[in-house]
């Protein structure tokens, strides 16, 4: 590789190291939680047999074109929420594909005539924020 080539790679790597979406999220899991958001009135419209693990509170529901986004939170840490959703989807007969990182996780699901994703972010010490996207199949 030429010197210019090596330098270009170095500059690209350096630039990449400077910006990181993840950095803005760092530290949230250590923060004390404030007051919990208010629960929504009634229950959201969820697909058939869609699981709601214990300690989950739904706070809002909105339509985005053909899809529905349900917001909520689960008391406790991210890892517990992730494990709960995985096991609950499995018990409900849904097909899943998941990914978990330090402060966020996703469980993608297919079942109940729908597809979508449960996105989990540990927003503070003892609360995991949920954003559930539901797409009709």
């Amino acid at each position: 590789m030429s010197r210019i080539g090596v330098l270009s790679v170095f500059v690209v790597l350096l630039a990449a190291a400077c910006g990181s979406e993840k950095k803005s999220e760092e530290g949230k899991a250590e923060k004390e939680c404030g007051a919990a958001p208010a629960a929504m009135a009634g229950q959201p419209t969820l697909p058939a047999k869609f699981p709601t693990p214990d300690m989950v509170t739904y706070t809002a529901e909105k339509k985005t074109g053909p899809s529905t986004i349900v917001s909520g939170y689960r008391e406790g840490e991210l890892a517990e929420a992730f494990d709960d959703y995985k096991s609950a989807f499995s018990s409900a007969g849904y097909v899943t594909k998941d990914e978990k990182e330090e402060d966020d996780a996703e469980v993608n699901f297919s079942g109940g005539s729908s597809t979508g994703q449960v996105k989990m972010i540990q927003s503070c010490k003892d609360r995991t924020t949920l954003s559930i996207t539901i797409r009709p199949q």
Binding site: E21, K22, G65, P66, S67, Q117
Partner: protein, 406 residues
């Protein structure tokens, strides 16, 4: 002295020979890349180069398992977007004992069964048709690329809240027809958002009649799901008629062909917005940048053939990361299967995961053979011949801008 030297040399050779026991037998993981190199060189080369980059890195690093050391070799086969040529290519790949077949998706409906008979995995790295992948019926077909279902639903989720009246324009190619099915699904529950459904004949030199039909339908936006050349012709027909309607599309919009076709009117490309798979993951842009730098070092940047503010525009190797990831997954499966026994490798592909080029986890399971999830679809908009993530979509607004000039 001469005799001693000869003896020493002989001993050294014997010693070296001892090192080459069966434990270091050299074997090959052959991956056939069946792609449209002649008809869609951008797509073909992107898929092949991504696979080749991974294969070179793996060979350099060395894959040792089951008492053998493997190198990875790529066999490039042109399907020219023809299903029958794709079938012929798959037959050849099987004759040559390919461990896997990487494809853009052309002809998979006909070819997957041939590969399945020999338990050879087929991975689609471009086309997103929902019927192409089904773990129950097609256990050997995998995909690492955004699905049409994901693209169509994300486009509907993005566009419908804007209260646009959308003309859905799909071309008559396999790509366009699969897109039409996906759009029908996505807009089924929001029919009021659709002003018209129009088919674009891919062979037509002028699409003014179809554009006029869309305009007369009262459309306030066009969603074009077509091969790149047809998309370029649609934009040309729209803008040359003086209609400044917003145009939305699929990853076909990234293909250099679109910008090359409109190079005489760069402003016609401005505002073109498309859905595609996100390049960077939650971890941030560092893994992507490392991948992109390695890609450019190996193959050079892919020149689009146009300039932005006097600088050369390049195409980021976003789809190359999908073929790159598959080759790494395949290597992990070979490692897990302790060799290239097809049935064992196919089974292992349902178990292994790797860290992908952008830092995301890649892997399949027995019930899900999709490597890219719908929620990883983002939107980007062109300005001055390069594209940037849009600011009015929650996911896209968090993504970094990827430099596309050199």
């Amino acid at each position: 002295m001469r005799a001693s030297a000869a003896t020493l040399a002989a001993l050294a050779l014997v010693a070296a020979g001892c090192g080459h026991s069966s434990a270091s037998k050299q074997r090959t993981i052959l991956i056939a890349v069946d792609a449209p190199f002649s008809r869609s060189p951008y797509i073909g080369n992107t898929i092949a180069n991504g696979g080749r980059l991974a294969s070179d890195q793996l060979t350099l690093r060395g894959i040792t398992t089951g008492g053998a050391t493997y190198r990875v070799r790529i066999l490039q086969l042109d399907n020219a977007l023809s299903p029958s040529r794709a079938v012929a290519n798959v037959r050849r790949a099987l004759r040559e004992h390919a461990t896997a077949i990487l494809t853009d998706g052309t002809g998979v409906d006909a070819a997957w069964r041939l590969a399945d008979k020999q338990h050879v995995p087929v991975c689609i790295a471009y086309q997103g048709g929902s019927k192409l992948v089904n773990p129950e019926n097609r256990p050997n077909v995998f995909r690492i690329a955004p699905t049409d279902h994901g693209l169509a639903f994300r486009l509907a989720e993005y566009l419908v809240p804007k209260r646009l009246k959308i003309a859905l324009l799909t071309d008559d190619s396999d790509y366009g027809q699969a897109g039409r099915d996906a759009l029908d699904d996505a807009f089924r529950t929001v029919p009021k958002a659709v002003a018209a459904r129009i088919t674009l004949p891919a062979s037509a030199s002028d699409l003014a009649p179809q554009v006029l039909e869309a305009r007369r339908s009262g459309a306030t936006a066009l969603l074009v799901w077509a091969r790149p050349a047809v998309l370029g012709k649609t934009i040309a027909a729209t803008r040359s008629a003086g209609w400044h309607v917003p145009v939305y599309s699929t990853p076909a919009a990234e293909d250099p062909v679109v910008r090359q076709q409109l190079a005489d009117h760069p402003s016609w490309v401005d505002g073109l917005t498309f859905a595609s798979g996100r390049m960077t993951a939650e971890l941030g842009p560092a893994p992507w940048s490392t991948f992109e730098a390695s890609y450019e070092t190996a193959f050079g940047a892919t020149s689009v053939g146009v300039k932005s503010h006097g600088r050369r525009v390049i195409a980021p190797p976003d789809y190359a990361m999908y073929s790159y990831d598959f080759v790494n997954l395949l290597a992990a499966a070979v490692q897990s299967a302790s060799g290239t026994d097809p049935a064992k490798v196919l089974s292992a592909l349902n178990q292994v995961t790797t860290r992908g080029a952008n830092g995301d986890e890649r892997g399949f399971n027995e019930r899900n053979h999709e490597g890219v999830v719908d929620d990883d679809v983002y939107f980007a908009r062109f300005r001055d011949m390069v594209f940037r993530p849009v600011g009015d979509d929650p996911l896209s607004s968090t993504l970094p801008e990827i430099s596309q000039v050199r």
